[in-house]
């Protein structure tokens, strides 16, 4: 895994750009720990100030310094994305590897369940949860719900990799050596699955953050927590784009685009690493 990263970093320009972009937003989110203002406070600075030396990102109509407010928003949003990715990885690895390794009846049953989850329209279900939970729908709860809905795509991919590993020589040796299936799966197979786990994790983050933004924009999350979604909600609530406080929309959008682009490039370059055919092709076109 580490050498994979090293190789990617060395030889893959997309991966490098992706790392840099993700690093930018991560550092930005990290700045929230140095914020002079608590995130939920309003009317602490003069509202509606455009970006300036004093307020780098300007101030919004709620009297918040957008720079510091967005650091919190990114911390919460990225943290949320990571948590969803982490939790859904656990489910997708378990399901994917079990189905791929055990095969047969187990595989069919798991993939049947998998297909059900794929077919569920997630958004109405999320809204239903919001409808029921209201303010109790904090970021962690939302993350758990999203994780429970966001694993099937990736489980299928992991399964296909695991399916290939089952027929490999070392698997047979391990079976002869008397290793139990769980150990084979997690000791022998997991390292091979990791690249695709990583790549799907990036894609999953884009997915979950996208939903967070959508829910937030509609006001269907806890509006007291600063996130990218709620930032846009408040901006919209104050007609930001129409009344000319454009920085309130443009800056978070630029930042989220940076984050998404970074994650996207990481996922793509990782995918390429997994599929050597497209890598060869890339070498070819590099002439």
């Amino acid at each position: 895994m580490l050498t994979t990263f090293r190789d990617l970093f060395r030889y893959n320009i997309e991966f490098r750009i992706g790392i840099v972009l993700v690093a930018i937003v991560t550092v930005f989110a990290g700045l929230s720990w140095f914020s002079p203002y608590p995130p939920e406070m309003i009317y602490v600075v003069v509202p509606d100030q455009p970006p300036s030396a004093e307020y780098w990102f300007g101030t919004n109509s709620r009297g918040q310094d957008l720079f510091w407010n967005l650091t919190f928003a990114f911390r919460n949003t990225l943290g949320f994305g990571l948590l969803v990715a982490l939790l859904s990885r656990i489910i997708s690895i378990t399901v994917g590897m079990t189905a791929g390794y055990l095969g047969g009846w187990t595989d069919r049953a798991l993939m049947f369940v998998n297909d059900i989850f794929v077919a569920l329209p997630i958004f109405p279900i999320l809204i239903l949860f919001y409808f029921v939970l209201r303010n109790d729908l904090d970021m962690v709860t939302l993350a758990i719900i999203m994780a429970c809905l966001g694993w099937p795509f990736d489980a299928r991919l992991i399964r296909s990799v695991a399916l290939g590993l089952r027929h490999r020589e070392f698997t047979r040796q391990a079976i002869f050596a008397g290793m139990n299936p769980a150990r084979i799966m997690f000791q022998e197979h997991l390292p091979f699955v990791m690249p695709i786990v990583f790549s799907t994790a990036m894609a999953n983050m884009i997915w979950s953050i996208g939903f967070e933004v959508t829910l937030g924009v509609l006001g269907f999350t806890n509006l007291n927590i600063p996130t990218i979604g709620t930032t846009l909600y408040w901006a919209n609530n104050h007609s930001a784009l129409v009344v000319g406080t454009w920085w309130w929309i443009i800056i978070p959008v630029v930042l989220i685009v940076i984050a998404f682009l970074g994650l996207f490039l990481l996922a793509v370059s990782m995918n390429e690493h997994i599929d050597p055919r497209s890598r060869l092709r890339r070498m070819g076109t590099g002439v």
Binding site: F112, D115, I116, V118, A119, L120, P121, I122, F123, P124, I125, I127, L128, F129, Y130, F131, V132, R134, F153, I206, G210, F211, V213, T214, V217, L218, F220, I228, L232, L241, V242, I249, V253, I256, V257, A259, F260, L261, F264, V268, N271, D275, R277, S278, R281, T285
Partner: protein, 334 residues
């Protein structure tokens, strides 16, 4: 043919299970709503004037019985299914006592129409461009389309839709930014009406296309760049098979199979986008209805919209699955 029936039967079973699981989940989640439909209705009915406590009490009793809230949960669940099978999901609360299903059915065609148009366009266009970009990897125009797509892809959908409103409604006000058709026409089988519907759906559909096309573009490009290395493509090239035949019949045609599967898998997600579209463009449809239901505390209607969404998406997937063997002969036997 028998193989196909077996295949279709299996898919149908899957459809049934999805609908069952999805609606059951929706029922259970909605059931735990702290907002009591009974109290919501009483609030709405009594909101406009003062109600005597006795009148409220008798109304409450009637409604409790109507909703069956005096029964145990499993009984309510069975009742739910009993009514559900007959296409009845109880009364809506924000338009009491109009059946929730009636409201949903009124909104459904708009959503389905808009989504179908948007999905078909973005799928075809995205796959076409992506396929060409994957095949002609050195083409400048296709390369720059790829760069633009990478730039647009991460923009949250809401922003794309809203920018279109600002751009075509404000800066350069040439497009309608709200409604399903113009106030000057009436719904009828007339050229004017159809054109008006088209004209009004253009901007919302375009926003969905812009947002959706990237996925197909990238997916197809990646698929094609792999498929061109397949033996049958090389072989056809060696045989001097016509370029267009190779691109169309060999490369794209084979890439379409996984892209069709991807379409089925993406439908649930695409449905989410339309909720925002309808919000931003004030377009009629399920999304607007859902938002109104949530804000109105109408658990019956929220449940109905969720169930219909589950059914609609699952059915769409089912239909796509049925198309699958037509595109991929290998599925037919299995």
């Amino acid at each position: 043919m028998r193989g196909y029936f077996l295949f279709a039967a299996k898919r149908f079973l899957q459809l049934a299970v999805v609908v069952f699981a999805g609606t059951s989940a929706a029922f259970l989640v909605a059931h735990f709503s702290p907002i009591s439909p009974v109290e919501t209705i009483i609030g709405r009915v009594s909101g406009q004037s003062s109600f005597s406590p006795t009148a409220v009490e008798s109304l409450r009793a009637t409604l409790t019985e109507l909703f069956g809230y005096d029964q145990p949960l499993w009984q309510q669940y069975l009742n739910f299914w009993g009514r559900f099978i007959q296409g009845d999901l109880g009364p809506s609360l924000i338009a009491f006592p109009t059946p929730a299903m009636e409201l949903v059915m009124r909104a459904l065609p708009w959503t389905v129409g808009l989504l179908t148009v948007a999905i078909v366009i973005s799928w075809i266009l995205g796959n076409l461009l992506g396929g060409l970009a994957g095949y002609f990897q050195d083409n400048r125009i296709l390369k720059s389309i790829g760069v633009v797509a990478i730039g647009i892809q991460p923009i949250p959908y809401y922003i794309i839709a809203f920018l279109l409103v600002i751009l075509f409604g404000y800066v350069w006000p040439v497009m309608p930014i709200s409604g399903g058709f113009a106030m000057s026409v009436r719904p009828a089988w007339s050229v004017d009406f159809v054109l008006s519907v088209l004209w009004h759906s253009l901007l919302p559909a375009f926003s969905l296309v812009v947002a959706g096309i990237g996925t197909w573009f990238f997916g197809m490009r990646a698929l094609v760049s792999n498929i061109v290395t397949e033996d049958y493509v090389t072989y056809a090239d060696l045989a001097g098979v016509d370029r267009r035949t190779v691109v169309g019949g060999y490369v794209m045609r084979n890439a379409l199979v996984p892209q069709l599967t991807a379409l089925a898998m993406a439908l649930g997600g695409i449905f989410s986008g339309t909720i925002i579209t309808e919000q931003v463009f004030n377009y009629p449809g399920l999304g607007s209805l859902l938002i109104r239901a949530v804000n109105g505390g109408d658990s019956g209607l929220v449940l109905a919209v969720s169930c219909v969404a589950v059914i609609a998406v699952a059915s769409a997937i089912f239909i796509i699955d049925l198309l699958h063997p037509l595109l991929d002969p290998r599925v037919r036997v299995g």
